[in-house]
Amino acid sequence: MTAPRPLLEVRDLVTRYETGGMLRGPRRVVHAVNGVSFDIAPGETLGLVGESGSGKSTVGRTILRLTPASAGSVRFDGVNVLTLPAGPLRAMRRRMQIVFQDPYSSLNPRMRAGVAVAEGLEIHRLLPAREIPGRVARLFEEVGLDASYRAKFPHQLSGGQRQRIGIARALAVDPALLVCDEPVSALDVSVQAQVLNLLADLQQRRGLAFLFIAHDLAVVRQLAHRVAVMYFGRIVELASTEDVLLRPLHPYTQALLSAVPEPDPGRQRARIVLAGEPPKPTAPPPGCPFASRCFHPRKDARCITELPVLRPIGPAVVACHHAGL
């Protein structure tokens, strides 16, 4: 199989920012993303999985230049997004859109749903004004909402309906890549499945690529072709979804999988309950960031002093000195 040229190529991405200063305590540098690399092919879904503080959302925001990068490159269709000046960046943004976790706080409470969806079309001047209402109506249909919802305000909509508006808004400008940042985690279980099915349909129909960011492996599994597991600002394992779920190699991935609640009392998995919590992002340890919680039988002094880099093990890449041994 010859791989198609990636739509998105992220290389050695680093995002740091300062906190504190003045009355907010001592200045500290937060190491949010520490050298992340991955590709996404056209029409592909890469799942980016991790817990809070792992840096997964910062990766998504940095790619879209909603947060400034400290180092690295992000090539979209071969063009480095991170160095684009304002004009071409605006044109590029049309091709890369984002769907947020909480559609309630990402929608303007005073803007009717139809106006919110039309906004991107107007800003990017994609259509003559008279054609916009027709396009908006089609977008509503595409996300499974009746045209009558165009007149509603966000507070008149359910969580699922608001998320459909958020998706329609992103689709309006005809993107090639959608960054979905925890798109279903604020929704009730019974509504989650509707939105996941909608995203799957849209991908198939439009050939969209997704960077699907989520903490829930069972949710990611529904859409992702490949999965990257993040811990403390780094990718610790990247492989096909099946390999990650069935043959996890990094001890953190193994613990994460075992912690997913199993909704069947008859087949409870052996639980690996991790002790402690991740290190503070203001004080990264010199060695493996997972070493303080690691249960691997071969854990040794090297784990404390030397940072493991991603290396291929079979079909996966894994950042662990001892994985696979």
Binding site: G159, S190, L196, P263, D264, V273
Partner: protein, 327 residues
């Protein structure tokens, strides 16, 4: 096992403007919790599960109130008849509660140790040194490392998991017979969630305490709860032993909920979503409240509300399909 807590027809009402009857976000919820057991109350947002928890402690925010037909019995004593000291002895002492969001439940300007000490002395006066010692012991019991040092920490200095342990320590301070845990792990990461659930289980066994676990997540119920009550739109629609509920859910809503949960093990195929969304109180019809979304509804479901239909001792469902000869 004798019943520690019994709810009979718990109904919560909120006034809704002139000319309209009150809204009833919780209607005729009846359940019982035995000593030492874990009962899970499962429901989506708007199901009334958290209001049920607040009502047990008589913490319904005004103008909401508990309807007269309600009985809340704690070892046979009606909590609704209690006032003053007697009511205070129930809140915090007989029944402890842990909420979802530890950051907003804790006082940001007091050390966590002081807040636990406050809870210790709320129900029993004792010398300061002794109450301090009790507070440190509670931090240790809830698995907080370096408890004597952490005593002096402020909430913002602790991680989400440690803050949740502090909340549990506060809830345990009165040595309650029943711990109500309202979405205790929803704000936490899965690896920390697993720690907190293990802790609750360990405490329940060590202290012989009963736990009422309120959650939206059927996944955390398996392997933790003895029995499960499923709530939908203000009512319990099914109650069963956990194993039976997971093996053969009787109510179409419970069945649909199971199908809608993304699984790690089953084959990946198109997810079976439940159409529509949870109805709000003003959208409830005179029939079954799940009927508009139910794939198995009968003609009568639209107009006739199903009563609780017994299936086995302690097990019942609110669904006409469970009636003999319904199919």
């Amino acid at each position: 096992m004798s019943d520690l807590l019994e709810l009979r027809n718990l109904t919560v009402e909120f006034p809704v403007g002139r000319g309209r009857g009150p809204a009833l976000p919780v209607v005729d919820v009846s359940l019982s919790v035995a000593r030492g057991e874990t009962l899970a109350l499962v429901g989506e947002s708007g199901s009334g599960k958290s209001l049920t928890a607040l009502a047990i402690l008589r913490l319904i925010p005004p103008p909401g109130r508990i309807h007269e037909r309600t009985r809340i019995l704690l070892e046979g004593i009606d909590v609704l008849s209690l006032e003053g000291e007697a009511l205070r002895a129930v809140r915090g002492r007989r029944i402890g509660i842990v909420f979802q969001d530890a950051m907003t439940s804790l006082n940001p300007v007091l050390t966590v140790g002081e807040q636990i000490r406050e809870a210790v002395t709320a129900h029993r006066s004792m010398p300061r040194a002794e109450s301090r010692e009790r507070a440190v012991a509670l931090l240790a019991e809830t698995g907080v490392p370096d408890p004597a040092v952490r005593y002096g920490s402020y909430p913002h200095e602790l991680s989400g998991g440690l803050r949740q342990r502090v909340l549990i320590a506060i809830a345990l301070a009165g040595e309650p017979d029943l711990l109500i845990a309202d979405e205790p792990t929803t704000a936490l990461d899965v690896t920390v969630q697993a720690q907190i659930l293990e802790l609750l289980d360990r405490l329940r066994i060590a202290r012989g305490m009963a736990v009422l676990l309120i959650t939206h997540d059927l996944g955390i119920v398996a392997g933790r709860a003895d029995r499960v009550a499923v709530m939908y739109a203000g009512q319990i629609v099914e109650e069963a032993a956990t194993a039976r509920l997971f093996r053969s859910p009787a109510h179409p809503y419970t069945r649909a909920l199971f199908r809608a949960i993304p699984r790690l093990d089953a084959a990946v195929e198109r997810m079976q979503a439940i159409s529509g969304s949870v109805p709000l109180p003003h959208e409830w019809t005179s029939g079954c409240r799940f009927q508009p979304r139910c794939p198995e509804a009968l003609a009568r479901c639209a107009t006739e509300a199903p009563p609780p239909i017994p299936l086995a001792p302690g097990e019942w469902t609110r669904c006409w399909l469970a009636e003999k000869g319904a199919r």
